[in-house]
């Protein structure tokens, strides 16, 4: 083949060994190095590093792989490898295997420095170059910013200066960032602009770890692979939708990050909006990443807050109480929070989706800390049957039918419907039909981070929200954040309960009730 023809066909070059029908073949990432900034932080140690080991253990990392840590500590490469080993042993999902670890350890490097230190970034560039030569990482680099967003500008600037951000022919540079993506529409736009001046949008991977969860991906399988659910997935049959993410933990020690941010920005803007988008979107034309994004963006652009906000939203702040047999302090007494903090730890909002499919169906989103238990679920609550040929006494105990997607824990799906109580009289009561991932597939599902990090290395963007999605989410949320900032304070609720009274009233006004998840 002539060189000219070779160059022309490089873009559409087809690997003769690859075949779409070859479903056994795992997709192994190409040669690359992952650089973690903030490698001493919790996120890196508990999630990112263990996930990288798990990927190696599953044979999905390339033989030519390197892991580079960047932090202030004075570590040598060996010190760093030992720290990584500790995290791996403590937090990895898959069992520890020495042979796997030995290979991973060979590729561990550490660069010591601060984010304003030009020489440190010079060293980083040098280290990466050496790795390309020694380990054959091929000039492909993923920069994982496991650092607070206030440090993004400095690091991005440095990467730019060190010439590490530019995509080059035949190799790639990608950046991975974690939430929060700003704190309102303006700041989100600013951040996006900043990131995009250094990395083009197709090289930016925003991690919303919820999207890496098996159950969340299963929403699409449930909706679009089955004939059973689609016909009822609309306003003819669905009365309302409740999306809940509850946590039982408090905020002790997280004041620095959380104070002034609050539950709505921390959880609703990203996780719950994404869950809403997947639940409410139309069927994508194909599962190509861009088609999926098109549908998500489309539905998010049709979402708005239900008015008046006084009646359709609620926020709260936990006070001291007994939670699961343990006495816990209120937010105002938590370390790191000011005594008059008006940061909300519980937020509930009502959204309308202005499409033919969903007109008139409210979507209730709620999240909170120190609630009854840790649970995330999406519940479609159906309308009651238009006519019940039973006496009222027979259906006293019959509630509304519901389809609940349990995102965590105990991942699965619950279908709730009425059934006759065994006896000579006709009496109908609610029962559950249960599908549990754990019993249908005994194999543990991979951690969300494994899936997402592998997708970054493969350059597969479907599970990452793009600019437009982030900005639409803020556009939806901003009015209620402004409203809350201007009016009053969060309502107190006792730790260990399901939120403030105002949240319950918010639903009761329309004759509905929150499910107890």
């Amino acid at each position: 083949m002539s060189p000219a023809r070779g160059a022309a066909s490089a873009a559409q070059w087809q690997n003769p060994l690859r075949d779409k029908r070859d479903k056994r073949l795992p997709r192994i990432a190409g040669p690359c190095a992952v650089v973690i900034f903030g490698v001493t932080g919790d996120l890196a140690r508990k999630k990112v590093v263990p996930a990288i080991y798990d990927l190696a253990n599953r044979g999905l990392l390339p033989p030519m792989f390197a892991l580079v840590g960047f932090a202030r500590r004075e570590w040598t490469d060996e010190d760093f490898a030992n720290e990584v080993l500790k995290d791996v042993k403590e937090h990895s999902r898959t069992p520890f295997r020495q042979a796997i670890w030995d290979r991973l350890a060979e590729g561990c490097r550490f660069v010591q420095g601060t984010f304003d230190d030009d020489t440190a970034f010079g060293q980083l560039a040098e280290t990466l170059e050496k790795l390309d030569a020694e380990r054959g990482t091929g000039g492909n680099h993923a920069f994982y910013l496991a650092i607070p967003p206030k440090n993004f500008p400095a690091v991005l600037e440095q990467l730019h200066k060190a010439d590490l951000a530019h995509p080059q022919e035949d190799h790639w540079n990608r950046v991975v960032i974690e939430k929060p993506f700003g704190h309102d529409l303006d700041s989100a736009r600013e951040l996006n602009q900043l990131v995009n001046t250094v990395f083009p949008e197709e090289s930016v991977f925003r991690i919303d770890h919820y999207l890496g969860k098996e159950t969340v991906q299963n929403i699409m399988a449930l909706r679009f692979a089955n004939q059973l659910f689609d016909p009822i997935w609309n306003s003819h049959h669905v009365d309302h939708v409740q999306i809940t993410m509850a946590e039982d933990i408090g905020l002790g020690g997280r004041g620095g990050y959380y104070d002034g941010i609050g539950a709505a920005r921390d959880v609703i803007q990203n996780h719950l909006m994404q869950l809403l988008a997947l639940t409410a979107m139309e069927e994508p034309v194909s599962f190509h990443p861009s088609e999926l994004q098109t549908e998500k963006i489309k539905v998010l652009s049709a979402v708005q807050l239900a008015q008046p906000l006084d009646e359709t939203s609620s926020r709260g702040q936990y006070t001291a109480g007994w939670q699961g047999g343990e006495h816990v302090v209120g937010l105002l007494d938590e370390e790191g929070f000011s005594k008059d903090s008006s940061t909300e730890t519980f937020a509930a909002i009502t959204l309308e989706v202005d499409t033919r499919r969903w007109a008139g169906v409210p979507f209730y989103l709620r999240t909170g800390k120190r609630l009854g238990r840790r649970v995330t679920e999406i519940a479609l609550v159906f309308k009651r049957a238009p006519h019940l040929p039973f006496d009222a006494t027979m259906t006293d105990e019959l509630g509304a039918n519901a389809l609940v997607i349990r995102v965590q824990p105990d991942e699965g799906i619950t279908l709730r419907f009425g059934s006759k109580v065994p006896d000579s009289t006709m009496e109908v009561r609610d029962v559950n039909m249960d599908f549990s991932y754990g019993s249908a597939f005994a194999e543990e599902s991979p951690e969300a981070y494994e899936r997402l990090i592998l997708d970054v290395l493969l350059g597969e963007p479907s599970l990452f929200p793009v600019n437009a999605e982030v900005e639409f989410s803020w556009e939806i949320l901003d009015p209620v954040l402004d409203h809350w900032a201007e009016h009053g304070k969060p309502d107190p609720y006792e730790a260990g309960t399901w939120g403030p009274a105002s949240a319950f009233e918010m639903l009761r006004r329309t004759g509905r009730e929150w499910r107890r998840p």
């Binding site: 060994l17 380990r135 054959g136």
Partner: protein, 303 residues
């Protein structure tokens, strides 16, 4: 828990199974398939059950082992052994031994134990029928798994699979080299983007996985594919580089070398039967790539 039921009937076994299930708390609803194992002899019996139990971790199954007891006995006789709870991992295991006139009718004995609706997989751990899909047991199954590695003449076995092939057939020799294929494929993903002009597969003579690997390469590339007996390695030749994946015969670490690039080490142990079986149970549709790899074996040059 292991329960022996000598000289019994399908009805009695099913009743006992229900009883055991209630005691051990295992529920049939969680099963995703019924795995029927047909070992040719006691030699591979325990090993096969162990593999099935290990694979059952990923694919909770009811495992039915059916084998010939005393074929020459005058009276038809069915002996059964049930394993549930701790002795069977997540699933339950039924071992059936058929004697006398019953020996030829293994499929009819198995039918009452197949779980409703869910797919049936048949697995012959050593001696497989020439046409698995025509075999009475194979006719019950959606997927039919053979293992040329345990055949009397592994090379002849893997070569004969093509003649007996029906969509839904697969051989564990094929899943044994999946990871080799994945590593080679991702190596070829890298530049230079040139076609592969020739390939060499070398290793033990009695490792049919290598023959099917060579067949796969022959079906994918334009150029000669050679199979040699010698050190364990695969070589892919492109115009400006050669990709070599080699491993010491008994080793657990392979070396991936490319022209003008640093060598890379990669953990690459020989896959054991449970792992291969688990992979084969993952998809129950026809494996078209396996079929073309079988066809490719004919084009391989044996050195």
């Amino acid at each position: 828990m292991i329960v022996e039921l000598p000289g019994t009937s399908a009805t009695a076994i099913n009743k006992k199974l229900d009883e055991l299930r209630e005691q051990s708390g295992a529920v049939t609803l969680g099963r995703v398939l019924t795995l029927v194992i047909a070992p040719g002899s006691d030699l591979v019996l325990e090993e096969s059950i162990e593999a099935a139990i290990a694979a059952g971790h990923e694919h909770p199954s009811r495992v039915i082992v059916v084998m010939t007891g005393d074929a020459d006995a005058a009276e038809a006789r069915l002996d059964a052994q049930l394993r549930a709870g701790g002795d069977s991992g997540a699933g339950e295991v039924v071992v059936l031994r058929l004697s006398g006139p019953l020996a030829g009718h293994n499929s009819s004995v198995v039918v009452p134990f197949l779980l409703p609706d869910i797919p049936v997989v048949a697995w012959w751990p050593d001696i497989a029928p020439a046409m698995p899909a025509q075999d009475p047991l194979g006719q019950l199954a959606l997927r039919r798994i053979t293992d040329a590695t345990n055949g009397a003449d592994p090379l002849a076995c893997i070569k004969s699979r093509l003649r007996g092939y029906t969509p839904g057939d697969t051989d564990l020799a094929w899943s044994r080299i999946t990871y080799w294929r994945a590593l080679l494929t991702s190596a070829i993903d890298q530049p230079p983007h040139e076609p592969i002009t020739s390939a060499l597969v070398s290793g033990l003579k009695t490792e049919p996985a290598l023959d099917v690997l060579a067949g796969w390469l022959a079906s994918r590339i334009d150029g000669p594919v050679r199979r040699a007996v010698g050190e364990l390695k695969v070589e892919l030749v492109r115009n400006s580089e050669t990709v070599t994946l080699r491993r010491p015969q008994e080793g657990a670490t392979a070396t991936l070398s490319r022209t003008a690039k640093p060598d890379a080490l990669v953990p690459l142990q020989r896959r054991d039967t449970p792992e291969c079986l688990a992979e084969d149970l993952r998809r129950l549709d026809a494996d078209a790539i396996y079929f073309s790899a079988l066809e490719g074996i004919d084009r391989v040059e044996y050195l």
